[in-house]
Each structure stands twice: as C-alpha cells, then as structure tokens.
C-alpha cells in the first residue's frame, strides 16, 4: 500500500481542510482562493510526478496509470480555472467563501478518485463525494433559484444513485466481486453474458451514469440546475462533472463490462444520437445563455458518447482529448459569461447585444469559444470533433457520425446567434465591462488553449493516446 499514489488526492483534501481552518483565522478572505489554487497546483505537481507509473494499490481498488493521471490533471486544471475565476464572483457567498473553496476541492478530489478507482464500492463512494459536494454548490446562493436547483439536483441525483446501485448490485450478484478486472473475468468465463440480469444491470448502470453525463433522457435536470446554480458552479458542473462521468464510464464499461460491449455499445450509440439531436434542437430556442449552454453541453455529451459506443483504444483517446478541449472551451465561455454577468447581472442573450463594443476582449473570447463549440477550425473544438468522429467511423459507426455532423450544423445556428447579438446588436448601454485580473488570466489561458489545441493538437493528443493505451485491455 503506497500512499504516495494517493498523494494528489490527499494533498487536495488537506488543502480543503486547511482552507476551512484558515477561514477562522484570516480576515483577508481573498487569500483563501489563492491558497486553494496553490493546493491545486501542489496536487498537480504530485500527479505529474506519478506520470509514467502504472501501479495498483489498496488491493487493486486504486489504479494509478496514465489514464487516471490524465483525468486528474484535467480535473485539477478545471478546478484551478474555476477557483481563479470565482474570486470576484464569490463575494456573493458572503461568509461562506471558505466552504465554497473547500467544496470545490472536495468535489475535485472525488472526481480524481473516480478516475483512479477500480472497484465498485470506492467508485460509488467517490461518486457520492463528488455528488454531494456539487449538490451543495448548486444550492450555494440559497436564493430561490439556487436552492431549487440544488434540491432538484439532489433528489434526482439520489434517485439516479439508487438506480446505479441497483445496477451495481446486479453485477455484483452475478459475478460475486466488486473489482472491475475480476468482474470482466467473471463475465467472460462464467456464461453470464446475455443473462437478463446482466442486461438489466447494464441498463441501470447506463441510466445511472447517463444521469451524470447528461445523456437523454436522463438529462432533464441539466438546464434547470445550470440555470439556477451560481455561474462558476455551472461552469464546473458542465465540464468537470461531465468529464468525471465519462472517466468512470470508461473505467466501468471498457474495463469491467468490456466483454458485454455488444449490448451496451448499441445502447450508447442510440443514446448518443438522441442526446445530441435533442440537445441541439432544444438549444435553438433558448434565450438564457446559461440554459443554452446547458443544452449545448447535453449535445456535446452526445458527441462524446460516440466514443463510448465505438469501444476502441482510439475512441477512448478521442474521448479524453475531446473532454479536455471541451473543458477549455466551455470554461472559456463560462468565464466570459461570469465576467459579463458580474457587470450586467443578466444571463439573457438579448442583454449581450453589442457586447463587442462594451467588452471587446470578452466578446471576442466568448465568440471564439462558441466557434470552438460549433466545431469550426482553427479551434480545439474542431480537432476534438474530428478525432472522435474519426474514431466513430473507424468503429463502423458511420451512421452515427453522419447524424453527429448534421447536428453540428444545427448547433452552428444557436452558437452563432450569440456571436451575432454581440457583434451586430446595438449596445444597451455605453458602459464598459471590466473584470478582475483573475478572470482575465483564466480567460486568456482558456482562449490560448483553445487556439493552440486547434492549431497543434498533437501536444495533447499524444498524451491522451498513451493514456488510452495503458488502461484498455
């Protein structure tokens, strides 16, 4: 049992505790934010130091491999950006800033564990760690909308957990173990394949995780929660929580349920098609930008699910790459929205009219991110899409890829509508929109990332390839 393998998680947990404790002693609350960021960075350094090691610990429950480190670093990066960009927004949390930072750190810990555990019980608990932190964060503003978002999230999340657990119970009952590798071995050796209980278990697992990644029809909480939650939390939810969901799905389905891929591959393919279509079509009609991005995130989940359906090493690499690009892009968009909404106190798209003249850089950045989400080069979003579509085609999912590319076309309409409003509309006031340096730094990082990955994706892709190879059987 090598605790060093857990060092990233432990350091993050320690930071969370430290922030809570520090809160009791310091007056300058802004310090807390930077302490958290420092903690994230320390954790990232630990994670980086583990790169290259492929080891298991805790009796096989914990796996430290390139896959988990890739995701850990992704979550840490997201967390860092969220923390940086919350510095200004977190004034709204009044006395609870420390708790906010601590919960973000705890949620991140949970996600990192999700990517590295290989045992159902640990996975479940890690999932709930993330979940509970996020429920609280969603309701953090404690006003009517935020509480409602938090409660909806929690109740539906709990139902989804119950469903997920039922699925896990069935799998456990069939195989007698909760370790993923043993489950895979049991399924392929004991003639469990094709039994109704296994199918039912798979369906329940799909539903439970589908909830996390916002696959239709388990996505309905998403728009409400995204709209009601504090904007940085929404940003966090939309990228980190989704990425965590995919990480754990990759773990469970690729690793444990690999032998049954014929069944769940088909399910994911169909869900992917429905998810992206519904996400995009409904997004067309949205007037609130957070809500629109919620539907957009549903649609993006649909694209990523192509990779799940494909079940190849290339596909898992593509998923990882896509998640990273999507994280950068969506975060960039949300950071710009945070900056703008800090000033104009509105999330209505109509209120963004003429924003290019009030906040040229933010508007341009938001436009860039939206273009990336559409998947137009030279942006990260384009490379991500091409990669995952390529993986889809290589796995004989041409029909799904065609649906996906048509969906991209639909999505262009609503993404560009925002761009249009910002660039073409008359500004509602002449007041310039300024933002804190934290927001600007975060925005600069994301936008440069989006462009860099759009122009030279190989710098990241080579790592996602390695990560994919290390964990796939």
């Amino acid at each position: 049992m090598d605790l060093y393998l857990l060092s990233p998680e432990i350091s993050l947990l320690a930071t969370a505790l430290a922030v809570i404790l520090l809160d009791l002693f310091v007056k300058e609350k802004w310090i807390l934010g930077w302490v958290s960021v420092t903690g994230v960075i320390v954790s990232a350094i630990f994670a980086l130091s583990l790169w290259g090691r492929v080891e298991t610990s805790f009796g096989g429950a914990l796996a430290v491999d390139q896959f988990s480190i890739f995701f850990s670093l992704l979550f840490l990066g997201i967390a860092a950006l969220i923390l940086i960009s919350s510095t200004e927004y977190s004034r709204k949390f009044a006395a609870f800033r420390a708790e906010y930072y601590a919960l973000v750190l705890l949620a991140t810990t949970g996600m990192m564990l999700l990517a590295s555990t290989r045992e159902l019980i640990s996975i479940f608990v890690a999932l709930e760690l993330t979940g509970i932190s996020l429920y609280v964060l969603a309701g953090f503003l404690k006003d009517a909308k935020s509480s409602e978002a938090g409660l909806k999230y929690l109740l539906l999340g709990a139902v989804a957990s119950a469903v997920l657990l039922y699925g896990m119970a069935l799998v456990y009952g069939l195989t007698g173990t909760t370790y993923l590798d043993e489950i895979a071995a049991a399924i392929s050796s004991q003639g469990i394949l094709g039994s109704p209980a296994l199918l039912m278990g798979i369906v329940l697992l799909v539903a439970g995780f589908g909830f996390k990644i916002a696959a239709v029809p388990f996505q309905m909480w998403v728009p409400d929660v995204y709209e009601g939650a504090p904007t940085p939390v929404t940003a966090y939810l939309s990228v980190a929580s989704k990425a965590a969901g995919f990480a754990v799905i990759l773990r469970i389905f690729y690793e444990a349920l690999g032998p049954a891929s014929l069944d769940w591959g088909m399910i994911f393919a169909v869900l992917a098609a429905i998810t992206m279509t519904i996400g995009n079509i409904v997004a067309l009609t949205q007037k609130n930008i957070k809500r629109m991005l919620a539907y957009s995130s549903i649609a993006q989940a649909g694209y990523i699910m192509i990779g799940l359906a494909a079940f190849t090493a290339e596909a898992s690499s593509a998923i990882m790459f896509f998640l990273a690009c999507y994280a950068l892009t969506n975060l960039g968009a949300f950071i710009a929205i945070i900056a703008i909404s800090n000033k104009i106190n509105s999330d209505e798209i109509a209120d963004y009219s003429g924003m290019v003249r009030r906040a040229p850089l933010f508007a341009l950045a938001l436009a860039l991110c939206l273009i990336s989400l559409t998947g137009i080069p030279p942006t990260a979003g384009f490379m991500a899409k091409i990669y995952i579509f390529s993986a889809g085609v290589n796995a004989d999912l041409l029909w799904l890829v065609i649906i996906a590319v048509i969906n991209s076309v639909i999505s262009a309409y609503y993404y560009l509508r925002v761009v249009r409003v910002m660039f073409l509309g008359e500004p509602l006031s002449e007041e310039r929109v300024h933002a804190s340096s934290g927001l600007r730094i975060a925005l600069a990082i994301t936008c440069l990332g989006v462009l860099l990955l759009g122009i030279y994706p190989w710098i990241l892709m080579k790592y996602s390839e390695i990560a994919a190879i290390t964990f796939l059987p």
Binding site: V125, E128, I132, E148, L151, L155, A158, A162, L165
Partner: protein, 101 residues
Amino acid sequence: MAVGLEHFLVLSAVLFAIGLYGVLAKRNAVVILMSIEIMLTAVNIAMVAFSRYGQFITGQVFVIFIMVVAAAEVAVGLALIIAIYRSKKTVDSEKFDLMKW
C-alpha cells in the same frame, strides 16, 4: 417452495418500485426523500441477499457504505429542503418551477 434468493430479490424489487412510486407521485419534498430511502433500502436487501447466497462478504460491506452515503444524502437533502422552505415557504415539489423550458 422454500424461501431462496429469488424471494429476497423480488422483495427488493417490490420495495424499490414502491419507493419509485413515492418519488414520482408525492408532492412533499420530504416524502420524496423518504421514498428515496426506501429505494436505497431495497437495493441493500438485494446486496445482502447476494452476499448471503453467494458467500461473499463484499455485499455487506457495500451496504454499510450505502447506509453512510444515504445518511449523508439525507442530511444534505434536508438542509436543502429547509433552505428552499425559507425562500419559498413551501416544500411542494410542484411549486419548484422557477426554471423551465
């Protein structure tokens, strides 16, 4: 017919379905939370039954963790219900529709 694994599994399914009905049909948020607890308990029964009939202790361990998680969830859930009650003066789930469409 002697009581066997199937009996317990069916019992768990029935309880799960009842909980499900409660979640979907009751308007009071607290009752919804209660129904969720019934669902979790139903899963626990299945876990324990598998544990008993498969001779693996893991199931019981799992149940312990589920209980812990359920407790935590209930705590946070009730806290949220109280928070929402403060701002809306109701816990009727059908009134929670500030955000839609």
